[in-house]
């Protein structure tokens, strides 16, 4: 897309790299439950940020607020410097429970975003086929979700989010339904795919290893009410092979440090 190059810094004062998503002073109450407390975060363009924290600390809530699916009680979300109040074409969501239409084939599910946008059928199916192939599901276009494994369903969810060409991908524990071997494979595939498309990704996970392996930036949240505990940048070179990364000293240190931080919440 040519407009990526022309999207010159709107705000010359901002540091490089430009922040495509900014979260300002977000708080969220569910009735009397205080889920998030004054969250301020920046998400640099083209980078992968992970939200990590104990269960119930508000990760899903924060992700859905960024997606525009939940209203914050206070604060605002900026996309490309503009305040947004709902879902938009710059963001696509990958759901933890897949959220596939059970009555639609893989092809229709992947093309669903374009179906809503009334893109002509032939065109949207062409594009959908391309991403079905990218996520390794070619041959399954005419299957229904109940005929797929959990990992395959999540790939459908990923393809559906990729095909609408949103700059920002929001993923809520995308690998939680996937077994360990497939999970690694899926992580590697995801990194490849994302690097090729220069996506900005905000990613929720429970796995420290996964967070360190895939992220440029890791946001550690404290237990309810969720606040930012710390932000970690593992700075791992991704030019080496996946196995080398997992043996890298920086990788192991980062995992250890995060574990030390999170452990105190368990007591």
């Amino acid at each position: 897309m040519s407009d990526v190059a022309t999207a010159a810094p709107l705000n010359p004062a901002s540091a490089t790299p430009e922040n495509i998503v900014e979260v300002r002073n977000i708080s969220k109450f569910y009735g009397s439950v205080h889920a998030l407390d004054k969250i301020n975060l920046s998400f640099p363009k083209g980078q992968m940020t992970t939200l990590l924290g104990p269960s119930g600390c508000g990760k899903t809530t924060l992700l859905k607020i960024i997606a525009g699916l939940l209203e914050p009680s206070d604060g605002e979300v900026l996309i490309n410097g503009k305040v947004v109040n709902g879902p938009g074409p710059e963001r696509a969501f990958v759901f933890q429970d897949f959220a596939l239409l059970p009555w639609a084939t893989v092809l229709r599910n992947v093309a669903f975003g374009m179906e809503l946008a009334k893109v002509p059928k032939a065109e949207r199916e062409d594009k959908a086929r391309h991403y079905i192939n990218e996520v390794g599901l070619s041959g399954f276009e005419d299957k229904y979700p109940h005929e797929l494994s959990g990992g395959m369903r999540q790939r459908v969810g990923l393809a559906r989010a990729m095909v609408v060409k949103a700059d920002v991908l929001l993923m809520d524990e995308p690998f939680s339904a996937v077994d360990e071997q497939n999970r690694r494979k899926f992580q590697e595939d995801l990194l490849h795919l994302l690097a090729a498309e220069n996506k900005t990704v905000i990613f929720v996970t429970h796995s420290i290893e996964e967070a360190v392996y895939v992220s440029d930036q890791i946001v550690l949240l404290s237990p309810r009410p969720g606040q930012i505990h710390s932000i970690i940048r593992p700075e791992i070179s991704r030019d080496t092979s996946p196995d080398d990364i997992r043996r890298d000293k920086k990788y192991l240190d980062a995992v250890e440090n995060i574990w030390t931080d999170l452990r105190k919440y368990l007591d």
Binding site: G68, L69, G86, P87, G88, P102, W103, A104, T105, L116
Partner: protein, 270 residues
């Protein structure tokens, strides 16, 4: 549109599940029907009651009534109010049910009416219909609606109200409009329960029309039953009852086909 693309060849090496050239589900269905008829025949021969004819004499009576036109005429009488009542109940029932599921005000207006209707002993109320609607086809149609509509409305309402919130959020996240959300996500998601309600509604409508024919005006298939019972021609009476069962089964099958074809193509392959 979906049905056309849903034909996938079976995986290679899958074990053949065919007996005598038909699928095994079909085979077992036919087998179970044959067993029921066989037991019926034997029970009729013993006989367990003089009011219980054999299967074969019931069939003979049925074909006789088909060929001399009595059955056709009776169904003509019965199907007019039944068809109208069911069509009205289905159309307005689904519309009202969907609106109740989506809108609190609509729920507030309609829910009490249909809950009371469903809970009340409608059979006891049917004679009262005569005071308002006389003894003609209108009265019968009203009886059908009174029995069919509450089931259809309340099933539809519950199905829509319990639509999967995750799918709705998904639709919103891709900037679907509210109308798209309703027509492309909520209604197909609710379709199995809506259709279950329609099937029950059709069965209840049948009860309604027969009750009306027994209690209000002796006509149609209800009259065929009560007349033959009164002159102790039980094989004719059972033949009439038998046709009702067959007819209901056909209607239910038809609704299932519509559901699968237009709303839930994924069920075809199960």
């Amino acid at each position: 549109m979906l049905a056309a693309t849903s034909v996938t060849p079976h995986a290679k090496g899958e074990k053949s599940d065919r007996l005598f050239g038909m699928s095994d589900t079909l085979f077992y269905r036919i087998l179970s029907v044959l067993i029921v008829f066989g037991v019926w025949e034997i029970a009729g021969m013993i006989p367990i009651s003089i009011a219980f004819p054999t299967f074969s004499s019931t069939m003979a009576a049925m074909f006789e009534m088909i060929f001399d036109g009595r059955l056709i005429y009776a169904y003509g009488e019965t199907l007019k109010p039944l068809g109208m009542g069911v069509a009205i109940s289905a159309f307005f029932g689904v519309t009202i049910g969907v609106s109740m599921g989506l809108n609190r005000l609509s729920q507030w207006v309609w829910e009490p009416i249909f809950v009371v209707l469903q809970a009340s002993p409608v059979a006891a109320l049917i004679p009262l219909i005569t005071y308002a609607y006389g003894i003609g086809i209108t009265a019968k149609t009203v009886a059908v609606i009174m029995l069919a509509a509450p089931i259809i409305v309340l099933n539809t309402y519950k199905a829509v109200r319990n639509a999967n919130p995750s799918l709705i959020q998904m639709c919103r996240s891709f900037q679907g409009t509210r109308l798209q959300e309703i027509w492309i996500v909520i209604v197909p998601n609710a379709a199995p329960v809506i259709f279950a309600g329609l099937r029950l509604g059709v069965a209840a409508g049948f009860i309604g029309v027969i009750l009306a024919e027994l209690l209000i005006t002796p006509t149609g298939i209800g009259d065929l039953i009560s007349y033959h019972r009164s002159i102790a021609e039980y094989d004719y009476m059972y033949a009439a009852v038998f046709t009702i069962i067959v007819f209901s089964a056909v209607m239910v099958g038809f609704l299932e086909t519509v559901e699968i074809k237009y709303f839930r193509p994924e069920k075809k392959k199960v």
